[in-house]
Amino acid sequence: MDRDAVRVAAELMNEIYLSFFNFEIMREALPLLLRGLVVTAKLCVAVIPLGIIGGLVLAVMSQSNSRSLRIAVVVFVDLFRAIPPLVLLILIYSGLPFAGIDISPFAAVCVGFMLNNSAYYAEIYRAGIESVDRGQTEAARSTGMSSAQTMSYVVLPQATRNVLPDLLSNTIEVVKLTSIASVVALQELLYAADMARSLTYNASPIVLAAAIYLLILWPVVRLLSMMEHRVGN
């Protein structure tokens, strides 16, 4: 009976090896996945700055003296935090052509991510700006700086430093989120892996894609963990 258990376990291990860690298939799929990785990298280079700039603009607007502007920012931020990014992406990609606007998958992802990410970055920057002591603004203004100069040379640098872990954490989320672009047939890393999976009837290419994501993001997650614990102490 023990021998049976050993045999079953050995068969299962072999099955796991063949279906998930099939190096033969991984080696064949690697070039396709690397091309996907390049697209993922291009996406990140496009959407991360768009989100950060959008968020920064919204956060500065949320400090405005105009009440209606402040309310508009809150409505925008809450609206785009309530819609799942995939829903937004599909609405843009599949919905706009019905209104006569044709949009490429890459552009659809950029627009969708811009709306979604700037809402999240805005909340982070807003918390950062509010964490800077009011005395800093008053001191800067009293030296003759304009309010725009005060914001860009005095408040924002300190605000950014205060929320650096949150900015990093959100940026990791954005990189991970680019995987949903596969749903609108943009040939990024996950799309390439899933294509290889359906060609080979084997899940190993997805494991390989997961390994690539892990290789890139794990060091950043570790760094973030260390930063968070240092802030905690």
């Binding site: 299962l12 099955e15 796991i16 063949l18 279906s19 998930f20 809450d78 609206l79 935090r81 309530a82 819609i83 799942p84 990014p85 995939l86 829903v87 937004l88 599909i90 609405l91 599949s94 919905g95 706009l96 019905f98 209104a99 006569g100 990791i172 989320e173 991970k176 989120l177 680019t178 995987s179 949903i180 596969s182 749903v183 996950l190 892996a193 899933d194 999976r197 084997n202 899940a203 997805i206 494991v207 894609a209 997961a210 994501y213 892990l214 993001l217 794990w218 950043v220 997650v221 570790r222 963990s225 968070e228 614990h229 905690g232």
Partner: protein, 233 residues
């Protein structure tokens, strides 16, 4: 003449995204999707937070090999895109002879991801409770487990409410990823209706359903954030 152009553009927008007959026809399907989304979301929140809290409490015993495994688990699940895990589990497991429904895969994967993030948040909370609280609890005759469960964790939870709420909302919105593996949630119903009707109206209905579902939670999260804000001494 300008006015005519504006009116026809507006009419076209309504015709594309808000056709009354389609709204009536597909509101039943979208409502069914809402129920499925709520079921998955509820299960994910309960399972993910419970497992996350359990892991953080286990980590408090500081058993080296166990903690190492917990840290690896948390890091890996924070580094991988949820969609990669969903695709891997759904299309990979059948190779091992076990087929899980899309619903179960979505529930399991999102719960595991939420558990990883919740563990980090609860752990930070447990670390932030002063050592004197431990000492006082132990000196009244509490065992380590009693001190952890009745003195430390209740205080830790208060500090974790705000970050945990935000993270839970973000992960619950990932229920939309269920569309990729055929879970009949809101986005899937909307997308199916869109291809049957050849109109973008069902997609807009899906987006609005998500907004109605999540706006109250996002607004509540904003309130909780100010009410339970981390107070740094």
């Amino acid at each position: 003449m300008n006015e005519t152009v504006t009116t026809s553009a507006w009419a076209r927008f309504l015709e594309t995204f808000f056709r009354p007959d389609l709204i009536e026809q597909y509101s039943g399907a979208i409502a069914k999707g809402v129920i499925v989304t709520c079921q998955v979301a509820g299960l994910v929140v309960v399972t993910g937070i419970a497992v996350g809290l359990a892991l953080a409490m286990i980590r408090a015993y500081r058993i080296k090999p166990v903690n190492f495994l917990i840290i690896v688990y948390v890091d890996v699940l924070r580094s991988l895109p949820p969609l990669v895990l969903i695709v891997l589990t759904y299309f990979g497991l059948p190779a091992l002879g076990s087929t899980l429904s899309g619903f179960v895969v979505l529930w399991l994967v999102l719960s595991m991801v939420l558990a990883a993030f919740a563990e980090e948040i609860f752990w930070a909370g447990i670390l932030s409770v002063r050592k004197g609280q431990w000492d006082a609890a132990r000196s009244t005759g509490f065992s380590f487990t009693q001190a952890l469960a009745w003195v430390v964790v209740p205080q830790a939870i208060r500090l974790t409410v705000a970050p945990l709420t935000n993270r839970t909302i973000a992960i619950t919105k990932n229920t939309a990823l269920g569309m990729v593996i055929g879970v009949p949630e809101i986005l899937n119903e909307a997308s199916t209706a869109q291809s049957f009707s050849g109109s973008a109206t069902p997609l807009m209905m899906g987006a609005i359903a998500y907004i109605l579902l999540f706006i109250p939670i996002v607004v509540a999260g904003r309130w909780i954030e100010t009410r339970f804000a981390w107070r740094r001494s």
